[in-house]
């Protein structure tokens, strides 16, 4: 019974922890620009993260080794180092965007100066990372992120054209500017499959000392948790499409997202949207700071893990502190967190193959995985998504330029 309860708690945390600032930015902007036409791209992205998170969790549970162990081993030092540097740059940009996003949400809640809130945000994140056990971090921010379910209620109350919503799940080339449409496809898939999620997920499996007995938990977490988490992305896009598109409002501010919940649900909707956003992006900030430290530690062979406590893994601890300081240094310059979010998602797309190819190789290696190596189904999805990842990685920068970053 306690096992079922534990699995259920993990799933709930996965739902609440699914959305980060990249998902919020791209889903709301896509809804405001194209209505429901891009819902299929969210399905594509969610399928991708389910496929590869399941593989990375399985590898971690069976071998006790996380993603960057596999990257180093499979790609060798040189190529592995390129993957590490690319991954760390994306982690850093993501972290900077999340820290800036936290300050922006706090500003909408409290009305205090932005830079003071940036300092408060980074100090609070540092304290949480220093003091909280791994399980608590995962659960507290995952549960807080569930407040974002207010967007599902908002989507229903805004009474969208459900026929058009259903039609949006069918892949199409869309109406309007093709480059802008392509840019959003890349952004939506990239936001769902952003690499830090698998770094964090597989390292978390090692932190929680998963074994082959936890493969069921792994499947339940990714299949149920991420699928239901994907519903939050649908809700964001549908509510933005129902409210913002008819008014000709282009979503350019985090406050616009909150307004999407406020309009149909009043003050309660507004507060829940802001609190949900705060928890979701704070959780993602912690994930990306840890992911940076995990990746470096696994690549260079340092002792790592929150379970060792801060003094027990000093270089790992210094690595996440350095991530926080560097992330803060980027946003304190005054750069717009939403701009950083978009760039981090687009660059993460370029780096996706370097993350996902080694996972696929290791998950297929029977010498490594024994009876738990990929079956036909996992390989079919794995290869399909590898093709998708390669295609969007090749298209990301050209579309960024051709679409004027989605401006058209």
């Amino acid at each position: 019974m306690s096992k079922i309860f534990s699995v259920a708690l993990g799933i709930i945390a996965a739902i609440g922890g699914f959305v980060d600032i990249g998902d919020i930015v791209f889903n709301v902007a896509a809804g405001a620009t194209f209505g429901y036409q891009l819902l299929w791209a969210v399905v594509l992205g969610v399928g991708g993260i389910i496929t590869y998170a399941e593989m990375s969790g399985r590898v971690a549970a069976v071998s006790g080794r996380a993603v960057f162990d596999a990257v180093r081993e499979r790609l060798g030092f040189g190529v592995g180092l390129v993957a590490l540097v690319a991954g760390q740059l994306v982690n850093l940009l993501t972290l900077a965007a999340e820290v800036g996003g936290i300050a922006l949400v706090l500003q909408l809640l409290a009305g205090l100066p932005y830079r003071a809130l940036l300092v408060l945000a980074v100090l609070a994140l540092g304290l949480v990372l220093w003091l909280m056990p791994f399980e608590w971090i995962e659960r507290v921010f995952g549960y807080g992120g569930l407040c974002l379910l207010v967007f599902a209620v908002a989507a229903i109350k805004l009474n969208p054209d459900w026929g058009a919503v259903a039609h949006g799940f069918l892949p199409s080339t869309g109406s309007g500017d093709l480059a802008v449409y392509g840019y959003y496809v890349v952004g939506l898939v990239g936001a769902a499959m952003i690499p830090y999620e698998v770094y964090f997920y597989s390292s978390g499996a090692v932190e929680e000392r998963w074994t082959a007995n936890d493969l069921g938990t792994n499947r339940a977490n990714v299949l149920i948790g991420y699928s239901l988490g994907g519903l939050l992305s649908f809700a964001l896009m549908i509510s933005a499409g129902a409210l913002l598109l008819p008014h000709g409002i282009s979503a350019e501010l985090l406050g616009t997202t909150a307004l999407v919940a406020q309009a149909p649900l009043g003050t309660v909707g507004l507060i829940l949207a802001l609190i949900g956003t705060l928890f979701a992006i704070s959780g993602a900030a912690i994930d990306s700071a840890f992911s940076g430290a995990y990746s470096a530690a696994q690549f260079f062979g340092w002792r790592w893990g929150k379970y060792r406590h801060n003094a027990g893994a000093p270089r790992f601890t210094l690595a996440w502190i350095a991530m926080l300081v560097l992330g803060f240094s980027i946003v304190v310059t005054g750069v717009d967190p939403i701009l950083v979010t978009e760039l981090s998602v687009v660059f993460s797309v370029v780096a996706l193959p370097l993350t996902y190819i080694p996972i696929l190789l290791v998950a297929n290696d029977t010498a490594y995985m024994g009876a738990h190596a990929n079956g036909k189904l996992a390989n079919t999805f794995g290869i399909f998504y590898l093709v998708v990842v390669m295609a969007i990685a090749a298209a990301a920068i050209p579309l960024l330029l051709l679409s004027n970053m989605g401006q058209g």
């Binding site: 406050g255 406020q262 507004l270 717009d336 970053m405 401006q407």
Partner: protein, 143 residues
């Protein structure tokens, strides 16, 4: 989309020049981001129709915000901070607007948002109507 905003959305937003010299590497990173953003063309739009779309978007969003304030279904802090952020969007765009009609409408939108930000004594209901009609008027310039 999320582009007209950019650097000026953030308070006291000197982009890079605020950094002291000892932060050279941070300055270089920020410069790289800025270059990429410029390369991607995320600056202020120059076409009249795109400028009109942005002004229309700000006015329409301001109208929604004023509506919420008039109904008492939002918080004072949110109204103030979001109105302020919308004005920053507009101020970023304003110097690039050459069309006199659009410039006038943008200025009136900014003035209405300023009244929303500080809490206009005539009430947000009036501002909702004003911003709504401004959005409609600007919309006619953005076919």
């Amino acid at each position: 989309m999320f582009l007209a905003i950019r650097s000026e959305r953030i308070p006291s937003g000197a982009w890079i020049s605020c950094l002291p010299d000892r932060h050279g590497s941070v300055r270089r990173s920020a410069s790289l981001l800025a270059l990429l953003a410029v390369a991607a063309g995320c600056g202020t739009p120059e076409e009249l129709s795109k400028q009109a779309e942005e002004v229309q978007s700000v006015a329409a969003e301001g109208s929604l915000l004023a509506h919420a304030a008039s109904e008492g279904s939002t918080t004072g802090v949110f109204t103030r901070e979001h109105a302020k952020a919308l004005r920053k969007l507009l101020r970023k765009l304003r110097p690039a607007i050459e069309d006199r009609q659009l410039a006038g409408l943008a200025d009136r939108t900014d003035a209405a948002l300023e009244r929303l930000e500080v809490g206009d004594e005539r009430g947000p209901g009036r501002l909702e109507e004003e911003l709504s009609s401004l959005a409609e008027a600007v919309g006619q310039l953005a076919p």
